[in-house]
Symmetry: C2
Subunit: 571 residues, 2 copies
């Protein structure tokens, strides 16, 4: 294949018309041309390298890798470095290999990282454990290009043996180590960095990013569904000029203040999580526009999703040079950056209207090793007329919760939730064979009736449910179990569900269908009184123990500050 086109050269930061020859999926020859009346420019539009999302958990999109590819190519994404951390918590290495297998069947560049923290904590029941031996097994694979985000920074800092062994293995196999170190700084950050951890996608303000950058990390600006750090990172209003800061900050600060250069601090733009309803709207194509609206040069933004991640992870793409894989997109123009066509390894995979490849399914199986529940599984007992309880208080769009308390009545020995105080019941149902149920109280969901349940519950993905009524909660949980996983909303008047039969996390349906169904469930939850923007997402994070204050695992109510379990009933 050979054609003439205008390209934007991300290495030189310049436009030029060229003749491109593609052989065996690679750019075989790039020849500069001159454009006169005798020259035909074959491509109507501007060619850029395909976009690379260098940190994403595909499971959060609730679709298979193949289905992810199908929607992502519409937005100009041609490569992802994905951390199959969620499925690993459910199914371990077997789940990762299932993802790799499914991914390999579509023309899309899937690179994987080996999930470093499975399970996330010892305070919950996960479906699998990946120890250092498992990590070594994974790191030997060609598809695995990095050690996934090291969330266990206390383990790194305190020299946990198994954690250090995993890090050592990544260094041994010369694969980069991704970091995850929100607000880590000073000595603790130094210890973390000395292990060779080289990226961070958790920076939420410029001062944090600056310290990490100066110390040698590459900064991933996150613009995803769960967390959007871009505004915070690009806000220099709070910037304070630090005294005695390490080298090169003076000039950086000066440049930042003068608005002359904003670029060299940030290396990548990533999504981390992209929910189906967001993913159908766009991906990195929207993120780079957002970066531009916040003051980043479009050309720098493009580098952050092309050459920079390719170079870091050693991927043979992200640039239009001879020898690189012929992954490219055609956009209408450099500013609007609307994706007209997408090519991977020289083949057109999106022609502006249709995606030109078939999507293989992952065979149905049941990862739900759990028996049906009845209403009394969700009762909290107390011997008295009323009691004071600890309550998880959650907030719209936030992962952090507050430790609240409430006084509740007791009827027939069962503590009663209170709609007027908005103190509902929350439960985590272990689904890996143990059949435990942990019950507690939560504030913030405002459900006036019915219940919601989901098998997406970070990071162990047991079944989580919120409701007023034990019977409704049992019905919602049982619907999830019947579906082999997924999300369910039930009430006296209606019930519906989004089945996620693959590990309880993903569907074989396409992104549009999943997003559509999720939208229906959202509306149903709203009809039940819930005012949260994303009730299922908020619920999923109520089991994420590493983020304070009060959370819940299948083992009970958990204090994320002191890292210990607490009783539901205070007196």
């Amino acid at each position: 294949m050979a054609f003439t086109a205008y390209i934007y050269d991300v290495v030189l930061g310049s436009f030029r018309p060229v003749r491109i020859e593609i052989r065996n999926g690679l750019f075989a020859k790039i020849t500069p041309i001159t454009v006169t009346e005798h020259t035909q420019i074959d491509v109507k539009g501007l060619i850029l390298p395909g976009f690379i999302d260098s940190h994403i958990h595909i499971e959060s999109s609730m679709i298979t890798p193949a289905q992810f590819a199908k929607i992502a190519v519409r937005h100009g994404t041609t490569s992802v470095v994905c951390d199959p951390h969620e499925i690993a918590n459910v199914m371990g290495i077997e789940g990762i290999e299932m993802m790799i297998e499914n991914a390999s069947k579509v023309p899309f560049n899937f690179y994987f990282s080996a999930p470093s923290c499975v399970p996330a904590t010892p305070f919950e029941t996960s479906g699998a454990v990946i120890d250092s031996k498992g990590i070594e097994y994974l790191l030997k694979k060609d598809e695995i290009v990095a050690l996934g985000e090291m969330m266990n920074f206390p383990g790194v800092i305190n020299g946990d043996e198994e954690v250090l062994r995993k890090l050592e293995l990544a260094r041994k196999y010369e694969k980069p180590i991704d970091g995850h170190a929100p607000l880590l700084s000073h000595e603790d950050l130094n210890k973390y960095l000395e292990q060779g951890i080289s990226t961070d996608h958790e920076c939420s303000n410029i001062m944090e990013a600056l310290e990490k950058k100066v110390k040698g990390m590459k900064i991933m600006v996150r613009d995803g569904s769960s967390a959007m750090d871009m505004e915070g990172l690009f806000n220099i209003d709070d910037l304070e000029f630090p005294e005695g800061n390490p080298f090169c900050s003076t000039s950086l600060f000066k440049a930042i203040f003068e608005g002359k250069i904003y670029n060299p601090l940030f290396d990548f733009i990533v999504s981390d999580d992209k929910h189906p309803n967001d993913l159908i709207k766009g991906h990195l194509n929207l993120s780079i526009k957002k970066a531009v609206s916040l003051g980043i040069d479009i050309l720098k933004a493009i580098s952050m999703v092309t050459v920079n991640p390719a170079y870091h992870y050693g991927l043979n793409c992200g640039v239009i040079v001879e020898g690189a894989q012929a992954d490219f997109i055609i956009v209408d123009n450099i500013l609007d950056c609307n994706v007209l066509k997408t090519y991977i390894a020289g083949e057109c995979v999106f022609d502006g209207e249709n995606v030109l490849f078939d999507v293989p399914e992952i065979e149905d199986f049941n990862s739900m090793n759990v028996s049906k529940k009845s209403a009394d599984d969700f009762d909290i007992h107390y011997d008295g007329d009323e009691c004071e309880v600890n309550v998880i208080e959650c907030f719209d769009g936030e992962l952090l919760t507050k430790w609240s308390t409430a006084k509740l009545y007791v009827k027939d020995g069962i503590v009663q939730p209170d709609i007027f105080q908005d103190v509902l019941k929350i439960a985590v149902v272990e689904r890996y064979g143990g059949n435990a149920v942990a019950n507690a109280f939560i504030k913030g969901f405002n459900l006036k009736k019915g219940a919601i349940a989901s098998s997406v519950a970070h990071d162990s993905h047991n079944i989580i449910a919120v409701g007023y009524n034990s019977e409704m909660m049992a019905q919602a949980v049982n619907m999830v179990i019947e579906n082999k996983g997924g999300i369910a909303v039930v009430s006296e008047d209606f019930a519906d569900s989004l089945p996620l039969p693959i590990a309880g996390l993903m569907s074989n349906e396409d992104a549009y269908d999943v997003a559509h169904k999720l939208g229906i469930l959202h509306n149903m939850a709203k009809a039940l009184g819930c005012e949260l923007t994303s009730p299922f997402m908020t619920m999923a994070f109520m089991a994420l123990l590493v983020i304070p204050s009060l959370k819940i695992s299948d083992k009970g109510l958990f204090d994320g500050d002191s890292f210990e379990f607490v009783d539901v009933i205070r007196n």
Copy 2:
């Protein structure tokens, strides 16, 4: 050699701390490091690739290549692509080889282009002719990386055989062809481009640059002593949105208008000519700051003098990557960009105070094949009492002249110049053995007495002189001849000169000494009444026939619009 440092990575557009290992003059290994309290950063400052001036005529600096290197490394320049067009007009291939030989003796990257237009026109006597055979001889040399600027665009457009042969040879030897096409556009530009000419450094406004860019040229933004196009190129006030423009301009224009992206139009920053008095003050280090003051991102400006020219001319420098030559500079910070140290091929050549290499001289020789002149050589005869004459009118800082006329008295059969009208005499003395003298009149120099003369006179570099008095003109010319070339100022009260014994163009002295002497001569010319900013430069361009309107060669007064000789006396 190995050390740790912060680098600015021009390919990734990002800062990072690394450990650099240098072996055999190359970057042998670049290892990312993390910076904690245990890490020593050896280099105090930020490392950038050394700067590359991708289009310069070193002869305009009036010093030898070796002396040029000595001053350029102080400003962070480590490479130049130089077109030895001036010496070629005087000495042909022998002169070019003398330049290459001298350049090879200092640790500096001199790349040369083969001068494509020697002589510049058939209307003057030059010291040499370089035909297509000579061009082929040059193109075979490793030191020659390009065919030098093709100024003869009429020759290209009209299909001049010898011109086309030279262009064909450049394509045959796969060496880029530099362009020089001021204001060329539409069909003519198309014909010019079809020959594979790939750069232009003559754009003076954004519309001109845009057409050339869209058609496939790489745009060199010129910031030199003779011509400073940067302001004009970066001025978008006059920008008009063209209808039916070729592809990709819509978005470019939009971006330009919105001030969101200014970068991808321009590829290089070059100096073209750098006079000694400017060169001692700075080089590309000042040009990039100027670009920043005009709205270009400093990071883009740095790319324009590093990776971009290196890539275009196939030079193994301009980037800090493994395998590239270890040419780098240490600057205080990215914004001020003050050069603290300069390294070439891993060796420190400027330590912040001293230049650490010796400068070889070019052996003295006499390129002046011309006999001494007497006053009557500069007389213009007329049989009558007065006459009307054609007058070259020149303007401060401009290459263009105006065709004026004046009425002059005749005394003893000799036409008399007139100080009150500021109509002085101008002469070009052929210095290649023919001994011809062409005389005419000029307005604009305002010399009240004395005369100035110089062997720097573009492009053939015959001796040019301006004065009121024939005797003074003869003395000035003879002083140039005695000096084997150079610049002279004489009057009844004083006389002084700057000898340029190497081809009448260059001195073995260093830039500071030459600049100092030139400053003295400037002041002397001023004392004689001349108000021009650079009287010798202005005089040098009075012989540049290709720039209209009225000019003078050793063969007579010349009309640069109709390309024919004209008589001095009108009646």
